[in-house]
């Protein structure tokens, strides 16, 4: 046991391990970038669409079904498929397949939660808003969205966790995948690389848990006052009990 731990410690203290080309810092940044960019795109695409459709009460079936369909598609498979298509197009595999696959992965929970959030705003609140003289878009963005904020943010969090969990898998496609590269490479090399495998996993775990925590903090800051926050365990699986 102690032999193993010292191997791991050795791995961490190797020169260039932290800041080199293949180092922990640049890989962490890559990991975060590969997670954040798809999230931004997914939110920009899914949120306004979901919220608008929900306000108009359209596409109800599709809105609820999308998260179930999304869940059935294995993220790993999606990533590799994206890799295949981009490879045929001759594009750099370090970036595009991951981003495209991750956006596709992130959209369903964001969409379904945002839709549900708007649809479950108490009708009296919406009617009062209209009755007082808010225009339709003011009702949506000034009243429905803030009131639905906890559920919307819960959906984004689900996607965030999912995306963070899939980024390491991109390492299978190329030399990317952020911190996942250590693990995938390690597995390919066999038992000898066990220190690298473990160290990589540790870093991934810490990064992911930290990013989730960061989201929690940000969520609290963003949530409008007076609207209660969903308990954190409930967050993980709010995306529709079909």
């Amino acid at each position: 046991m102690s032999g193993f731990l010292s191997e791991v410690a050795e791995w961490f203290s190797e020169p260039g391990r932290w800041t080199g080309a293949d180092g922990i810092f640049p890989r962490t940044l890559e990991h975060l970038w590969l997670a954040t960019l798809p999230m931004i795109i997914a939110v920009a695409v899914a949120l306004p669409a979901a919220v608008w459709l929900a306000h108009k009460r359209r596409a109800e079936f599709a809105a609820n079904a999308i998260v179930n369909v999304g869940r059935a598609v294995p993220s790993f498979g999606l990533l590799i498929l994206a890799g295949v298509f981009f490879a045929r197009a001759g594009v750099d595999l370090r970036f595009w397949p991951a981003v495209v696959a991750l956006v596709a992965l992130a959209i369903p929970p964001i969409f379904t939660n945002a839709y549900t959030a708007i649809v479950t705003v108490p009708p009296a609140t919406v009617e009062a808003a209209r009755g007082l003289g808010y225009k339709e878009d003011e009702v949506l963005w000034g009243i429905e969205v803030p009131v639905g904020a906890p559920v919307i943010l819960a959906g984004i969090r689900i996607s965030w966790i999912q995306v963070l969990a899939t980024v390491p898998l991109a390492a299978v496609l190329s030399s990317g995948g952020g911190l996942g590269q250590y693990v995938v490479r390690g597995f390919a090399q066999g038992p000898g690389a066990r220190a690298e495998i473990f160290a990589g996993a540790l870093l991934i775990a810490l990064l992911t848990l930290g990013a989730d925590r960061l989201y929690s903090v940000a969520e609290r800051a963003v949530l409008p006052a007076g609207v209660s926050r969903l308990a954190s365990e409930d967050v993980k699986a709010v995306a529709s009990a079909s």
Partner: protein, 230 residues
């Protein structure tokens, strides 16, 4: 890994025809990995949920721990356990895969079981008490059936997710249908057919299992739909 040549067809039906038995084997492997994980996961979750219901103060730490396992990417979970169990043996690989898969189901199942039982209306509970049901009887015969819809919803989510996660175990040498995904990628010239077969079949498998659970759920809870139909 080299870039795919344009000459490799996107989908080769011939390959499918030639490898039907491998596909079947891998599908069975996929099913067994999924089934094992869900069975054990359900057993553990029921136990932990019962504990949380009996001693409410334990719910937070239990859900918290399950949440941590859920958040950590499955790949990392494999890698954290692998050095200790060893990826050299088939058993070792199986255990590593199962630990991660089971761990992943815990949060959803525990949360849904607890929420399901807690959402049984207090009046119903009281009526049962008033009629003479003892605590354990009441739990099994009244509360559990009433909590079924929520529990099954959680089970469906867990099942579909596990089916997806099993594909990642291909990195450990298992993978079920995920084997094709990785194999198609790892060839000297990327072979899309395998990858596509792997993805489509695992989606199909997830859909079939999801539907089956839906039907099972409806069969077990006839009161739900009849009430709504009125």
């Amino acid at each position: 890994m080299t870039l795919a040549q344009q000459t490799v067809p996107l989908f080769d039906w011939g390959w499918v025809g030639r490898n039907l038995d491998t596909i079947w084997d891998r599908t069975l492997e996929h099913l067994s990995l999924t089934g094992a994980a869900l069975l054990v996961g359900m057993a553990i979750s029921v136990a932990l949920a019962a504990l949380s219901l009996w001693r409410p103060s334990t719910y937070q730490p239990i859900a918290g721990a399950a949440g941590i396992i859920y958040t950590i990417p499955s790949l990392a979970v494999f890698a954290l356990i692998a050095p200790f169990v060893g990826i050299g043996t088939a058993t070792g690989r199986f255990i590593i895969a199962q630990v991660a898969l089971i761990g992943y189901t815990l949060l959803i199942l525990i949360r849904n079981i607890v929420t399901g039982i807690r959402s049984v209306p207090p009046e119903t509970r009281e009526a049962a008490l008033g009629m003479g049901y003892r605590d354990r009887e009441r739990l099994v015969r009244i509360e559990f059936p009433l909590a079924l819809p929520v529990i099954i919803a959680g089970l469906r989510i867990a099942t579909v997710t596990v089916v997806g996660l099993v594909t990642v175990t291909s990195l450990l040498g298992l993978g079920g249908l995920g084997f094709f995904i990785l194999d198609g990628l790892r060839r000297s010239v990327i072979f899309p057919t395998e990858i596509i077969v792997g993805v489509i079949l695992s989606v199909a498998l997830a859909a079939v299992l999801d539907l089956s659970l839906l039907v099972l759920g409806r069969a077990l809870t006839p009161w739900v739909r009849r009430g709504a139909a009125r």
